[in-house]
Symmetry: C2
Subunit: 203 residues, 2 copies
């Protein structure tokens, strides 16, 4: 078994999909959560100055999506062929488009423009994406792609906690098929175990 | 052979990596470039209202990176194993981080904040990414990953034309290993053929 060490801030956010996937794989991993005041000393040792970073047998890798896809392949959650793998990748990259729209609001440090972004985000942008994702989940039996569990589902559910905290309300609420997707992921025994033992965090 | 139709605006930009990869594969594809005034009628027929969209035997797929990875697999340009595939994915997602920083400047419609972003972009953000990418290309024999050609290299070179037009100068200029990378891609016979026959566009 390879050794895994995840380095990230003490939050769920972009680290959580990786933690979900390592937990699903039943891998023992070092979950290193550093405090913000240590970031300036850690940053120069990270490949592109960013976290999360996963060390696999001491080799550092960044980019949470790429890492999650890699772990998804190890977990046999990456589709049965290239076309199925593509469907998962499409769903995850589309989730990132939605995340980008939320982050564009949340991380705007101009209070005036930030406030202006919230209306269209809640009334147009999110309903557009979420209703499309809900259709996808409906067509795929409560999953995002190929009618079965994939790393994309674990990614979606793990990161949605962070998105919900940024936007300020539970966006699954009106979407029955997305609720089923969430249930399908959160009821996995290895994920239940992880959620029981993980540190409680604000983000 | 599957039939391919690419639907996109009449620009290189996010469509060009797909066109590079289809050309590399030697695939005959319909390169449908619509005019901006037709976008409102086309948009509702696109999976998440976005382009580029590739139709593969009539099945529509969006997300340019996911599509490029898929075509890269068909072209045997996606690494020899999961670890190598991961290194390619990491490089491409990091390129998107750099693209995001450039787009954040270029698409800012407030002239004042836009002007303020250009300085740090040119003096800090781009040199940071480009020097790291240059190191990667040096370590990998003039490629981004695994010491050999991958779909990531085609993606990088194809999309860098668009990035260069946004930022306004040839960012390869100071980076010898990235110039080698560009040369490695542009000297591929199928890519040369494509570049000779493609429509000239501003972006």
């Amino acid at each position: 078994m390879p050794s895994y060490k995840l380095t990230y801030f003490p939050v769920a956010a972009l680290g959580e999909p990786i933690r979900f996937l390592l937990s699903y794989l039943g891998e023992d991993f070092e979950d290193y959560r550093f405090n913000s005041e240590d970031w300036p000393t850690i940053k120069p040792n990270m490949p592109f100055g960013k976290v999360p970073v996963l060390e696999v047998d001491g080799k550092k890798v960044h980019q949470s999506t790429a890492i999650s896809r890699y772990l998804g392949k190890l977990a046999k959650l990456a589709g049965k062929n290239d076309w199925e793998a593509l469907q998962i990748d499409v769903a995850v990259d589309t989730l990132h488009d939605m995340r980008q729209a939320i982050a564009n609001y949340w991380y705007d440090d101009n209070e005036e423009t930030k406030a202006k972004k919230l209306g269209p985000l809640k009334s147009e942008i999110l309903p557009f994406y979420l209703s499309k994702f809900d259709e996808l989940a409906k067509e795929n039996n409560g999953y995002l792609a190929n009618g079965e569990l994939s790393w994309g589902d674990l990614y979606f559910v793990a990161i949605s906690e962070y998105l919900i905290k940024m936007i300020g309300f539970d966006f699954y609420d009106k979407y029955e098929n997305l609720k089923q997707l969430r249930e399908n992921v959160l009821s996995l025994p290895k994920i239940q175990e992880w959620i029981k033992k993980r540190p409680k965090t604000d983000f």
